[in-house]
Each structure stands twice: as C-alpha cells, then as structure tokens.
Amino acid sequence: MNNNLSLVNKISLLGLLALLTGTGNGVFFALIFTLTLSFSAAVIKIIYLQFEDFFQKKTGEIILWGTGLGISYFLYALLPQIFKSQVEYFNYYFILIGVTPLLYAELKNRSLVNFIINHTLFFDLMLAVSLLRELLGQGSILNYQIFTEPPLSLAANPPGAFLILGLVAFIYEIIINKFKLEKRTANDAELESGVKYE
C-alpha cells in the first residue's frame, strides 16, 4: 500500500503527528507548530550539510536525532515564556516536533527550492486542516467567534482530526495530480542535487 506514494501522501505522513495534534486548539497553535517545525528542519539541515560525512554514520545519525529533540525541547521551554497567554497549548506534543520525520526528510538534497516546496506544502496542509477544524468544531477563526454554535462539533474532536486530514489530503492530491506539480518538483530536485528520490 505504501508503494507509489504521492507528494501529498508523503508530506502528510512525514508530519502526521503534527497534522493530527497541532490543530485541535486552533489556527494560532497550528501556525506556531508549523513555524517551529520548519525552523528546526532548517537548523538540522544546515548542521547535517556542514558535517555530512559524520552524520551518515550510525552514531552520527543518532546524534542528529538527539539534536532535533534537543532543539524542540529548548523551544518547548522558551516559547511559552514569549506567548504567555497561550501557555496551555504547549504540551508534550510540542517536544515531539524533534522526532517528526519531516525534519530529517531529504537531508542530502541541497536544493533550497525543494526544501521550501516541501515545507510550504506542509504549512498549507496544516493551515487548511486547522482552519477547517477551528471553524467547524468551534465556530471561530483565531479565537474570533464567527458562528454562535459550532456547525460540526465532531471536527474539534479526535475523529474530526482523522476525518478532516483525510479529506484535505484527498483534495490536495486531486489538485496536484491535475496540475502535474509533483513531476515538476521531483525533476527540479533531481536536476539540482543529482540524487534520485523515490
């Protein structure tokens, strides 16, 4: 079943935990979550490319995973002090950003364009899922109440996370297939890096 994964499928699986958990508390938290993930991914990529030979070894790989976890733990301690009014949103899921597969995806690929496309797609997915969940599940956007009663209270609960993620990923897949975006990005990445990605 995992053969021939599409770009949308790949991205949603690479950031699955963030997509499912980061959106239950609304758009604001989803934005912080995504930006933290992308920032951590950029730091990890820079570190990896600086010491590529070391991190390709088994010990180096484990140290890199530990570094990712360390960065997210540091941000977990730091960010609640900046966003004091949102402190309840920073739970243990935030530390798990450090072990999100998207952080370590295509590390050998030096193409900046490919990195930006991957993270923009993830950001889009996260934003779409969180917007729908907050709007349908709580009747608000960025805590601004639009509906007095939530139109679909299911959306704010765990079943809603699976349901909306499944639907959004399906719609993205159709759009990407229609415009053949996947083939274009894969070709760009392979041309720039010389590495063939599955």
Binding site: L5, K10, L14, W65, P101, G160, F170, E173, Y197
Partner: protein
C-alpha cells in the same frame, strides 16, 4: 463491575492511546504487514513498547526531582526499544525521502512514554493503564493490517488505495471508541 475493570475499559475506549491521543499512528499505518504476519509482528512492537514504558515509569519515579532529564532518558529508552524491534526483523531498510524505516518507531515510542507518564500516579492502577495502552496498540495494529489487506484486494480505483482511506477508517473507529460523545 470492579474499579480495575472499569479503569481498563476507560483507558481502552474513552482514552484510547492510538485513536484519541494519536500515539503510534504513523508506525501502525506504515509498518503493518499482511494480516497473518501482523499477529507476530504486533507482539514484537508492543513488547518493545512495554519495555520502554516500564523503563520510563521507573526512571520518572526515581528522577522526579530532575524532570528536565526525562526527555533524554525517554530518547535512550526509545533507541533500545528500536533495537529490540529490529532484532525481530522489523523496521529494516529505508522508508521514504531518505529516512530509515527504524526512525518511524521513534515518535511512537516517545509519545507513548510521555502519554503514559502523564497519566500515572505511581500505584497499582498504573499497571492497568499500561496494559490498556499496549492492548490498544496491538489491537489497532491487527485491525489496520486487516483493512490494508482488504483495500489491496478490492478492485476500487487506485486513488482510494492511499493512506487517506485509512484516515477515514480511523475517524470512524475513534468516533466509535469515544461513544459519539460529540453528538
């Protein structure tokens, strides 16, 4: 019904680790083999998870005054558990985007440890919570393996053979587990 059995059912249904807390969803979706092999492979994975969680429980009890160290200890536990899973011939080779297959067990193991330690009170009830969480992971592993096998066999369009079909199934399962309490 006794308190212990009630607690077990509550952890298995209302506070389901996989469907309500999203623990190990990625690992279960990616690593589930054919149904026949899933019975044995599920045992290997839940066994390793049991090791890491019991270890986390012991360390969190004795190191409660140095809580800042716990994520590092959970990480080391997870690495040992990944090694245990690999000795069972699972998580071999590469996954996607240059990531090794063994990596996908790491978020599952870490989130299980964080999740369980958050629920524990360091008494006999913790054993029930742990047993319920591991039972959940094993059962969902088997269920998803069965559904994936059915999806592969069906003559539906290829676009429906992708992971989002599983998300819709998981949405229905989690609605059932939570007793449709959103209605």
């Amino acid at each position: 019904m006794s308190k212990i059995i009630l607690l077990f059912w509550d952890q298995l249904l209302n506070n389901n680790t996989v469907l309500i807390s999203f623990t190990a969803v990625l690992l279960i979706i990616v690593e589930t083999p054919k149904l026949r092999a899933a019975f044995k492979d599920g045992l290997v994975i839940t066994g390793a998870m049991a090791f890491s969680t019991v270890s986390a429980w012991i360390f969190s009890y004795y190191l409660s005054s140095a809580a800042f160290l716990l994520p590092a200890i959970y990480f080391l536990n997870s690495l040992i558990a990944v090694k245990l899973i690999k000795t069972g011939n699972l998580l071999q080779g590469n996954w996607i985007a240059g990531i090794k297959r063994e990596f996908i067990a790491l978020p599952a193991l870490l989130s299980l440890q964080f999740n369980i330690i958050e629920r524990t009170n360091y008494n006999y009830q913790d054993l029930i919570i742990l047993a319920a969480a591991l039972t959940t992971i094993y059962l969902i592993f088997i269920v998803i393996a069965a559904i994936k096998e059915q999806l592969d066999l069906k003559e539906s369009k290829k676009i429906f053979h992708k992971e989002y079909t599983l998300f819709l199934v998981l949405a229905f399962l989690s609605a059932v587990m939570s007793g449709f309490d959103f209605l």
